[in-house]
């Protein structure tokens, strides 16, 4: 109501041929895209920036840690279940086979993150395709795709993933695929809702009125405007996928040939009563990663929400 709009000065009407008036001094005439404004808003959000920094540290250690601490995570370095700090050079202790926990955490992070990212990517690709087609074209196609979406949505996710992993080899890709298959319906519904909303806005009719075809309207006009909630949802999907992978590994359905945080938990869980660290430390790593991802996701959500922006 009284909150003034961030507007640049109006030039007023002019007769043809009149020179444009000079820009009024003291007012910003700099282009600021909605994305850049959202980024600026994100940077003002302390928890989100903390989450991003934490995520950067985790990703940095996981991807580049082995350049600094080069060791094989499968090497048996000391007595099994040595507590952290008891032996020099084995800061975080050893697991039930006597393998170094620290090296394991370093090496096991990359597959965990890779599964999370791939699963989120699969989710987004399937979800956006289904959702945008259903929302844009409507009619029988919408009915068909939404029934399909509902079918996948009511599948018991964990059970379905377990069946997939059991049927095919329990490789990281199978796991990522299984997670993606059970998580895309949510993204599809979100995309469809956004398409249904934006489809009715006048700039879509405007695009049609200047001769834009369906493909251009879907990709260039509607999708960019539908992205903000999808980015948020994709970010949170990464966290969910990491937890999912950990869950599968804990149940013994992980890839036994690839060191991952979930596998570490799964293999060491029988010794939990004797030694807390082989389970707790990878659990903590997963917790911190998911926590950081969630903070970033929440920050993005707030940054994209114009109602919060004016505060």
């Amino acid at each position: 109501m009284a909150a003034p709009d961030p507007i640049v000065p109006q030039t007023g009407s002019k007769q043809p041929g009149a020179a444009p008036p000079p820009a009024t001094p003291g007012r910003s005439n700099e282009a600021s895209s909605p994305m850049r404004e959202a980024w600026g808003q994100f940077l003002k959000n302390r928890p989100a920036v903390f989450g991003l920094a934490l995520l950067a540290v985790i990703v940095g250690l996981v991807l580049y840690g082995h350049f600094i601490f080069d060791a094989d995570p499968y090497d048996i370095v000391w007595m099994p279940l040595t507590p952290p700090g008891e032996e020099e050079g084995i800061w975080l202790g050893t697991d039930f086979l006597g393998r170094d926990m620290f090296t394991g955490l370093m090496k096991g992070g990359a597959p965990t993150l890779a599964v999370g990212l791939s699963a989120a990517l699969i989710t987004v690709v399937i979800g956006i395709t289904m959702g945008s087609l259903a929302g844009f074209f409507g009619g029988w196609l919408d009915d068909l795709l939404m029934r399909l979406t509902e079918f996948f949505q009511v599948l018991p996710a964990l059970l379905f993933a377990m069946v997939l992993v059991t049927l095919f080899s329990p490789s990281l890709w199978t796991i990522a695929f299984a997670i993606g298959i059970v998580s895309w319906p949510q993204t599809a519904r979100l995309t469809r809702a956004e398409f249904l909303r934006i489809r009715e806005l006048e700039y879509v009719t405007a695009a049609r009125s200047i001769g834009a075809g369906n493909g251009r309207i879907i990709w260039r006009v509607i999708l960019p405007n539908a992205l903000p909630p999808l980015i948020v949802s994709a970010t949170l999907t990464i966290g969910v996928a990491i937890l999912f992978e950990a869950g599968l590994s804990f149940l013994g359905l992980g890839d036994p040939n690839t060191m991952s945080w979930g596998l570490m938990i799964g293999q060491n869980r029988n010794y939990l009563l004797d030694a807390w660290w082989p389970v707790t430390l990878p659990g903590l790593a997963i917790f911190l990663t998911v926590f950081a991802v969630s903070l970033v996701g929440d920050g993005l959500n707030d940054a994209f929400n114009p109602k919060l922006r004016s505060r």
Partner: protein
């Protein structure tokens, strides 16, 4: 002359925005006489809706703050009134109708229930008596088959019917002052005409004073006795409706009148009508207001003096705030 029903005395309202604290109303003074219709006119962002909310003691806080002046209702300063007293005044003595009647009504209750609720809140009557009053009220505001319509939900009524329901609710306790904030903006012209006629009838019947907030000079002509023209949080011209419409002194008022296409038979059958008067530019954002006249940037008469010194509201036939009042081409 009778005592004013409501008077604003040098009212100042500030808002916290991301540009810092801005002054939305700076020193508004005006009187509403019993039984009259006062128009407040201006473009969006000029502060007319804030003035209406202030009269109800409803300036949203945060981000708004009443930082100075008085709002006197029958001599009582409502800026100092306790919340309990304010709630009693609202609805019972002062009522308000809004621009969008759909969003002002609760969609999950019937309109009859909502009006009855308002009656029970302020009057010592039984539920049955209240329900009988509801039917009478709906008949008063010209709703056909009132007993049946009382059982309707808001979405089952047309926009005009909903605005009638809002008016019925507003007059349910015979208020002395009715504040109407753009009551017909969302309605079609034929329905707007019906609502205006209804408001006039209500005023004649109940003697209620009306404050009509509008951007439409046509509505001002048809509905009001006196007018205050607002710009950037100040009153810049004030007078009887005839004074303002026939002899506007402020260049902004002249612009507002001149930029409306004249209607119908009055325009004659000229082959081509002359271009409309224009007010270039837009209302300046409140955080960028300087020391001079807020209108100077858009004004054809403005000189360095205007940009440096803000003109006070002075009596020049009627009160107007302009160094060049009455100069230039009349509208």
């Amino acid at each position: 002359m009778a005592d004013p029903l409501m008077s604003l005395r040098d009212l100042r309202v500030e808002f916290d925005t991301r540009h810092g604290r801005v002054t939305a109303l700076s020193g508004i003074s005006l009187d509403v006489m019993p039984g009259e219709t006062l128009g407040i006119v201006g473009e969006s962002g000029c502060g007319k809706s804030i003035t209406a909310l202030a009269m109800m003691g409803l300036v949203p806080n945060p981000p708004g703050h009443v930082t100075g002046g008085q709002i006197l209702f029958q001599g009582e300063d409502i800026t100092r009134a306790k919340p309990r007293r304010l709630r009693r005044l609202r609805g019972r003595e002062i009522a308000m109708i809004f621009q969008e009647p759909m969003t002002s009504l609760n969609p999950v209750f019937t309109v009859g229930d909502q009006i009855a609720e308002a009656i029970l809140l302020h009057q010592d009557v039984s539920r049955a008596q209240a329900e009988k009053q509801v039917v009478d009220l709906l008949a008063t505001v010209g709703i056909p088959e009132p007993a049946r319509r009382a059982k309707a939900y808001p979405h089952e009524l047309s926009g005009g019917m909903r605005q009638r329901v809002m008016i019925a609710m507003a007059i349910s306790c015979r208020p002395k002052l009715l504040i109407a904030d753009e009551p017909t903006t969302a309605l079609d012209v034929t329905v707007q005409a019906q609502i205006f006629d209804l408001m006039r009838d209500i005023q004649r019947e109940f003697g209620v004073a009306i404050v009509l907030i509008t951007h439409d000079m046509g509505a001002i002509a048809e509905m009001t006795d006196r007018v205050a023209v607002m710009y950037a949080g100040r009153i810049i011209e004030q007078g009887t409706s005839d004074q303002i419409l026939d002899n506007p002194l402020h260049p902004y008022t002249r612009g507002l009148i001149g930029c409306i296409p004249v209607l119908g038979r009055e325009a004659g059958d000229a082959a081509s009508l002359p271009p409309l008067a224009e007010i270039p530019g837009i209302v300046p954002p409140l955080h960028l207001l300087g020391d001079g006249c807020a209108f100077a940037e858009r004004c054809a008469l403005a000189d360095d003096y205007c940009r440096a010194v803000r003109p006070p509201l002075e009596e020049k036939g009627h009160p107007v705030a302009c160094h060049h009042a009455g100069q230039g081409v009349p509208a």
